[in-house]
Amino acid sequence: MSGTKAAQGCGRVAAVCLALASALGCKSDPAHPGSSTTGSGTSAPSAATSLTIWWAQWAPADGLQQLGDEFGRRENVSVSVHQIPWSSFQDQVFQEFGKQRTSFDIVVGDSQWLGRGATNGLYVELTDWLATAVDLKSLHPLALRYLAEYPTGSGKYYAAPAETDAMGWAYRKDWFDDATEKSAFQAKYGKPLAVPETWSDLKTLAEFFTRPDQKRYGVALVTGRGYDDVVMGFEQVLYAFGGSWGDFKSMKVKGSLDSPGAVEGLEFFSGLVAQSPPGGSKLGYGEALEPFVNDSTAMLMNYFAFFPDLAKKMGDKVGFFAMPKHGERRVASLGGQGFSISTKAPPAQQELAKKFIAWFHQKATQEEWVKKPGGFTANAEILRSEAFRSASAYNPAFAQSMDVVQDFWNVPAYNELLAAAAQRIGEALDGKKAPKQALTVLAEEHEKILSQSVPQ
């Protein structure tokens, strides 16, 4: 190759590299085919004719699509709820945020994503608008705090509650009502076989029903390590026994997460795992359902969103109750997600998204929402109403749970905090570390992660 040709070759190579670099840095996205807006976002807000919502693939998303269709008919727009499998939901959403324009206008994101969405400029701040469009007093204060506010307690909102959820319990009503079981329990413990009011009662019941020779076990707990499973499963015991993740304002963890109460809670939780079916120390949300449905477990810990399907499948065999208490403390792990509007959606789309959220929170819409499978509401008035409580076997326990919900950290580094917590709590459940040692190490790791990442 001559010098000139070599130079030409290098020039072409450089051109290819530049083209690739620009393609990576400046992706365009043909989102919203039905919209007449442009990527520049200069169109008038009235131009939006379609709304795209991204959510995980599960029954409540079907319900939201039905409501979306109703909204679409009223406003003469099309609403699409795009469902993504839970396993890749988070990955796809945040990869999408890497684009200059997201394919969605609204994402129904986990409460823990709030800090990341807010501090990285991915979620539209809704503070001023939300107060005018939605009657904030109508929303359950804890749902508003954990599903919409960042930083917690700041009064700044980056979301509006969508699906409200909490952890609760399902139990084998037919086993609890069985005369033989009742008399055996009475004879053994000197008290009637009944739904547990305290964690201690629950452990007694778990021990009573654990009969490996009959392939029967006491409890199926949420203990998986894939995402936040074991963290949410343990959280309600942690808080009930007097521990906590730490101070969400000062970011101080030591003294709370490794406190004597927290250690006692983890010891208790480990003991409870011993009353679960084989493999019970690593059951994800979906996996925990299996031993309960297949007649091998008396009680199941899980999110209420799963319970409508259980009730449908098992009928009168299943009953429901709220988290037990320890002393006077009763705590349930928060679930559910909030509507957040993408800053990378054009203004017209953002306006339509706001209109949808405001409509969704109207009382009449919420009354429709609670009729959908897994459609749990944040509307405090509906939650308190007798109509709601008597509508299903699980609604009374859900309404009770919403008053005592607690969430994990929602700072941008939440996933590192979750991974560390899953590892250390898991080590305690697997017997690799004593609960005290596991929590001491975890408290140090959490403080380190927080000190390196917050504030941003």
């Binding site: 690739l20 990955d91 390590r225 493999g279 120390s281 996933n415 899953a422």
Partner: protein, 281 residues
Amino acid sequence: MPALVVLLAMNVFPLVFNIYLSFTNADLSGGAARAIGTHNYAVVFSDARYADPITTTALFVLLSVSIELVLGYVLALALRAHIPGKSALLTVLLIPMMLCPVVLSLFWNLILNGHYGILNQLLGAFGLPQPQWLTDDRLEFVSILLVDVWMWTPFMMLVSLAGLNAIPRYIYEAAEIDRASRWMVFRTITLPMSAPLIGLAVLLRATDALKQFDLVLAITGTNDETTQTLSARIYQVVFRNYKVGLGSAYGVVILVAVIAVATIFVRYIDGLNRRQGKAQA
């Protein structure tokens, strides 16, 4: 020129871009990436939790490649003989290797499930213990290893068979005339003459096993420290913690390790080829 463009677009550019990203604080969800010098590499080498994936990956490569090599070579030796239905048998043996690894992994997840998996149901039917293949710490790694061995032993067998079939027949005839024992024939003819191709197969499998991800993702999940390989760790860092810059630094370190391993193997194979060339001359 078109070939060069493809090479640049598919290999050189991603590599250069990855190295560039490893010196920045690039985030998965966008925002301007800022140069932060060697900070990411400092994090990589000071991360205590990085040691576990390294150990897991090294153990996985060593065990999986060794077992697959031995089983594959033994199968190839058996299949070299003239047996009825050899073609059909060979086709059946190759099936695991030809199917999509992720799909197979998901199937194995169902098969090995401790509660409803068909394997435990079969074991239970015969009154045998029903281990928790996917959740018991002592079995998780073994489960992934067994699936990998099932999936990739056919590859070792295929390459070994090609190596064995390439040995000229007259060498065996000469050995027969010299009344060499079967062990002597195997030790001095079969093994050394098939070694270069086996070395190549080991190189390919070792570099592939170093990147093990799909089985881990589908069978135990990327966040389970018992089976977290280096690739699974990178997935956690990039796609769960959103730290593309840090993940790129992890990737560069793995790349250097893979290049080192590959260089050792290539030199070993070259050496074998040279020795064989001299012997034949």
